[in-house]
C-alpha cells in the first residue's frame, strides 16, 4: 500500500465517494461528494470505479507528501495546485513522483477541488461508503496534520493517458440553480423565485443558508417529515436553507423547493458571498391524490 502524508490539512478536506444510501431510515445522512460531477470526471479519466473515494478540498488546500508514485487528476475548483512550486495541469492525468509535495494556492474559481487518484483512496467503509461523516465518526476523519492516506499503486498503464476533460462551464459560471416544486410549494411566496440570494457564511456540507433582499417570513409549519440533499427549507424566519450532502434525514420546516442534481453540483462550487437565483422547472408529471 502506498502512502501520502498530510503535511498540512487545508481548511476542510475529507475523503468522499457517492455516499451511503439505504441507511436513511436509521437517521444516517447520505454524505458523499458535494459536486459529484467533478469527482466523476476525474474518476472516469483514471478508469476508476465510479464510487472510488476521492479527496474533497474546500477553498484552502492541504499540503501532501507522496511517498510513492501516483497517477492523479485534479478537477473542480481551481486552487492553483503545484508540485514543488510548479503549477500543475488540472482536468488531465498527472503522474506524481515519489517524494513530491503537492500543494495548493490561490482559489481562482469555484469552491471545492477534487483530488482523484488511480484506484481511489483506501479508506474503511461504514454502511457501504467511505464518505466522511464527522458527527457519527463514519469514514475517515477530516484531514489533520500527520495523518496518512493510503492507495494502491499498481503501475498499470492508463488508457486515457493523454486525454483531457473539458469541465462544464455551467458549474463555475452559472448562478441559476434549477429547482422543482417541493412538497410544501404552496406555502412559498412566489416572489422568492425572482429573488437573488446571497450564500451566507453559515453554509457548509450540511446546508447553505441564503439571504435575500425581501423577507419571506411565514407562520406555516409541518409535521417532521423526510428531507434530502437539495431540499430547500423555509424556516419561519424566511431565510431559505438548501440542504446539502451531510443534511439530516428528516426536518420540520416547509420544503418549498427541491434543487436538481445538477443544481447541487453548481451550488457545491459556490462559496459564501456568491449570489444565486432559482429557476423553476416543472416535474415530469403532476400531483395525484
Amino acid at each position: 500500500m502506498s502512502v501520502i502524508e498530510v503535511l498540512s490539512p487545508g481548511l476542510y478536506t475529507t475523503v468522499q465517494d457517492r455516499g451511503r444510501t439505504r441507511f436513511r431510515s436509521f437517521g444516517i445522512p447520505v454524505s458523499g461528494c458535494m459536486d459529484q460531477l467533478s469527482a466523476d470526471l476525474g474518476n472516469n479519466l483514471l478508469d476508476n470505479d465510479s464510487n472510488a473515494p476521492v479527496l474533497e478540498i474546500t477553498m484552502m488546500g492541504p499540503q501532501l507528501l507522496f511517498q510513492d508514485k501516483a497517477n492523479i487528476v485534479i478537477t473542480g475548483a481551481d486552487l492553483s495546485a503545484r508540485i514543488d512550486g510548479k503549477l500543475l495541469k488540472t482536468n488531465t492525468i498527472v503522474t506524481i513522483n515519489s517524494g513530491d509535495v503537492l500543494s495548493f494556492g490561490k482559489l481562482k474559481y469555484g469552491c471545492r477541488t477534487y483530488l482523484c487518484i488511480q484506484n481511489g483512496f483506501d479508506v474503511p467503509a461504514h454502511f457501504g461508503s467511505c464518505s466522511a461523516y464527522e458527527k457519527a465518526q463514519l469514514g475517515l476523519p477530516v484531514l489533520k496534520k500527520g495523518m496518512k492516506l493510503y492507495y494502491q499503486n499498481n503501475s498499470t498503464p492508463i488508457f486515457h493517458q493523454n486525454s483531457r476533460i473539458k469541465p462544464s462551464n455551467l458549474l463555475f459560471e452559472e448562478n441559476t440553480v434549477d429547482v422543482v416544486p417541493g412538497p410544501e410549494y404552496h406555502l412559498m411566496n412566489e416572489k422568492l423565485l425572482s429573488e437573488t440570494f446571497e450564500i451566507t457564511r453559515d453554509s457548509n456540507r450540511m446546508g447553505y443558508r441564503l439571504k435575500g433582499v425581501l423577507s419571506y417570513s411565514h407562520s406555516g409549519s409541518i409535521l417532521t417529515s423526510t428531507v434530502m440533499p437539495g431540499t430547500v427549507q423555509l424556516p419561519p424566519s424566511g431565510d431559505p436553507v438548501v440542504l446539502m450532502k451531510d443534511c439530516q434525514t428528516t426536518g420540520g420546516y416547509p420544503r418549498i423547493l427541491q434543487v436538481t442534481e445538477m443544481g447541487i453540483n453548481i451550488l457545491a462550487q459556490k462559496k459564501p458571498g456568491d449570489q444565486i437565483k432559482f429557476t423553476l422547472k416543472t416535474l415530469p408529471e403532476g400531483r395525484q391524490s
Binding site: 439505504r22 431510515s25 436509521f26 454502511f127 409535521l223 417529515s225 439530516q248 400531483r287 395525484q288
Partner: protein, 240 residues
C-alpha cells in the same frame, strides 16, 4: 384495517412521497408500518430504500420513470397490507436520573413546579411509542410524553450534549444517540448505545416498538456500562 386517504406525489426527480393525514397517531403509525412491509415484500423496480416519518413514507428510487403506474401498483399493495403489531417489542432502557446526568432536572422542576422525584416517576411510568428514526443517526422520535412534563427548549442550545443523554424538548422526550449540539433539557443518561456504527443494523429499536425508562443509580449505570464495554450486555425486552 381502516383505510386512510393517502396522497402520492413526486419528491424531487427520483423519490415518491406518500402522505397520511398530517397528525401524530398510533393508528397512522401502525398503518405506515403495515404499508411499508407490504411494499418491502414486493419492491417496485429500482427502489433503493423507504423512509418513514410521523405521517409519511418516502420511497427513494434510482430513477422514478413511471409515476402513474408506480402509484397504481402501490395502491394495490396498500389494499393488501396486513397489520403486524405482534412484531413490536417493548425495550427497557435503564436511565440514571441522578444529578451528574440529569443536569437540568432541578431547573425544569422549578419551571414546571413539579418535584424532581415526580418528574422521574412520571417520565419512567409509561411506555413511549417509537414513530421513526431521524434528525441524528439513531435518534428515536417518541410519542406520548405526559403533558405535565412538556417544557420549552433551553433558550440557548448547548454546543455539546453527550451521547446517551435523555431530555425533554417541548412536547417530546428523547435520547441523544451521539454527541451533538442541542437545546433539550437533560434529565438523565442511559448507558445503552442506541446507535452502533460497528453493527450492520446500527439501531436495535424499530418503529412501532415501545421504550420504557427504568430508573437506575450511578452504580448500576457503571455496571451496565462495563458489561457493554465487555460485550456482555443485551438490551432487555419486556414480554407483553
Amino acid at each position: 384495517m381502516k383505510n386512510f386517504s393517502l396522497t402520492y406525489r413526486r419528491f424531487g426527480t427520483a423519490a415518491l412521497l406518500i402522505e397520511w393525514p398530517q397528525s401524530i397517531s398510533e393508528d397512522i403509525l401502525t398503518d405506515i408500518i403495515a404499508f411499508q412491509s407490504a411494499i418491502e415484500k414486493r419492491p417496485p423496480a429500482g427502489l433503493i430504500e423507504i423512509v418513514p416519518t410521523y405521517a409519511s413514507l418516502t420511497l427513494f428510487f434510482n430513477e422514478l420513470k413511471d409515476f402513474q403506474s408506480t402509484t397504481k401498483k402501490l395502491n394495490f399493495f396498500y389494499d393488501s397490507r396486513i397489520s403486524n403489531q405482534s412484531d413490536n417489542k417493548r425495550w427497557i432502557i435503564p436511565v440514571c436520573y441522578e444529578e451528574q446526568f440529569g443536569i437540568d432536572l432541578q431547573e425544569i422542576s422549578n419551571t414546571l413546579k413539579v418535584s424532581k422525584q415526580e418528574i422521574i416517576d412520571i417520565h419512567s411510568s409509561q411506555p413511549y411509542r417509537v414513530h421513526f428514526i431521524g434528525f441524528l443517526p439513531g435518534f428515536l422520535y417518541l410519542g406520548g410524553l405526559n403533558s405535565k412534563l412538556h417544557c420549552p427548549r433551553r433558550e440557548s442550545p448547548r454546543l455539546r450534549i453527550t451521547k446517551g443523554s435523555v431530555g425533554i424538548g417541548g412536547s417530546q422526550t428523547g435520547i441523544y444517540p451521539i454527541d451533538s449540539p442541542g437545546g433539550w433539557n437533560i434529565i438523565g443518561g442511559t448507558p445503552i448505545p442506541l446507535f452502533d456504527s460497528s453493527k450492520t443494523r446500527p439501531c436495535f429499536v424499530r418503529p412501532g416498538d415501545t421504550l420504557k425508562f427504568d430508573p437506575i443509580d450511578q452504580l448500576t449505570y457503571d455496571q451496565i456500562n462495563q458489561e457493554i464495554e465487555q460485550g456482555n450486555y443485551a438490551p432487555k425486552v419486556e414480554i407483553l
